[in-house]
């Protein structure tokens, strides 16, 4: 029973990882690619670690694996946020199909100081 659950989870995680890879290849610009990498990549690695926790059934391994999964869930958004912010400040242009850009003109200098929505500089 455990091995069937593990097998299904393992294939699911691998498919999610593959979706992240296809997404990073197909999406038009950096910011849309980041969606694929940060969401699908995180869930893929998290599912893999949950799989190993279920398969082992021992607390010392399961606790390590679950702590690793929790760590990924906490750190993946931070690295995505930092990379997106750095790319925007460095002047990487969004895709021409971008409809609304409320961020435009809000960065007051190259050090990434950002003004709020109501105080237009």
């Amino acid at each position: 029973m455990i091995s069937v659950i593990t097998g299904v989870l393992l294939i699911t995680a691998a498919v999610v990882n593959l979706i992240a890879a296809i997404g990073i290849l197909r999406f038009p610009d950096l910011y849309t690619r980041m969606h694929a990498a940060s969401k699908a990549g995180t869930l893929g690695a998290g599912l893999m670690l949950v799989t190993i926790a279920i398969h082992s059934g021992e607390i010392e391994i399961a606790s390590r694996a679950l702590a690793g999964a929790a760590f990924f869930l906490l750190t993946a958004p931070i690295s995505a946020h930092l990379l997106a912010r750095a790319a925007y400040v460095a002047g990487i242009e969004p895709w021409e199909g971008t409809k609304v850009d409320h961020l435009k003109g809000h960065y007051t200098d190259k050090q990434g100081h950002l003004s709020s929505d109501d105080e237009k500089s």
Binding site: R26, F27, A40, T42, L43, D101, H102, L103, S115
Partner: protein, 158 residues
């Protein structure tokens, strides 16, 4: 409130020590038994507030996991569908939460939920800028976040 959580965990550890085997199932069962013990003493030690908050935090975690799975399904659909028409946008979101840890939690939740990725917070902590991968109605998106995650965070952490 975190005191009671610590007591709960310590009682679960004590349960395992008495049994003499630290397996995952024993620890979880010990946690359930000790929270039952705390629930029994809710009249004497006023632990009911702890349980209320416990359910709120658990609800937040479950909501977060559900939204993560939904967001992967949505990204998967955007990835494998044949047409390539997307409507990405940078959207500003006026924040109601003010404390740093609440904003951090909200930004993390937004990043791992369907179609949104937080890019930056303004210097005065009043506006969160979000990148959306495929959005038609900006105001509906703002309303969804304000009434969904932001309200839940305020309920669970205050």
């Amino acid at each position: 409130m975190s005191n009671l959580f610590l007591i709960n965990v310590l009682m679960a550890v004590a349960w395992c020590a008495v049994l003499g085997s630290f397996t995952l199932m024993n620890l979880l069962f010990g946690f359930a038994v000790s929270s039952g013990a705390l629930w029994l003493t809710r009249e004497q030690y006023r632990t009911s507030k702890y349980f209320h908050r416990f359910w709120l935090v658990l609800g937040l975690v479950l909501l977060f996991l559900k939204e993560l799975v939904l967001s992967v399904v949505r990204v998967a659909w955007l990835v494998i569908r044949p047409s390539r028409s997307l409507n990405p946008s940078f959207v500003s979101f006026p924040l109601t939460v003010t404390k740093a840890h609440e904003i951090t939690l909200l930004a993390n939740l937004i990043t791992l939920t369907p179609g949104t990725l937080s890019v930056d917070v303004s210097d005065d902590n009043k506006t969160l800028y979000i990148h959306c991968i495929d959005v038609d109605d900006v105001d509906a998106l703002r309303r969804d976040i304000a009434e969904g995650f932001e309200r839940k965070i305020m309920e669970a952490l205050r």
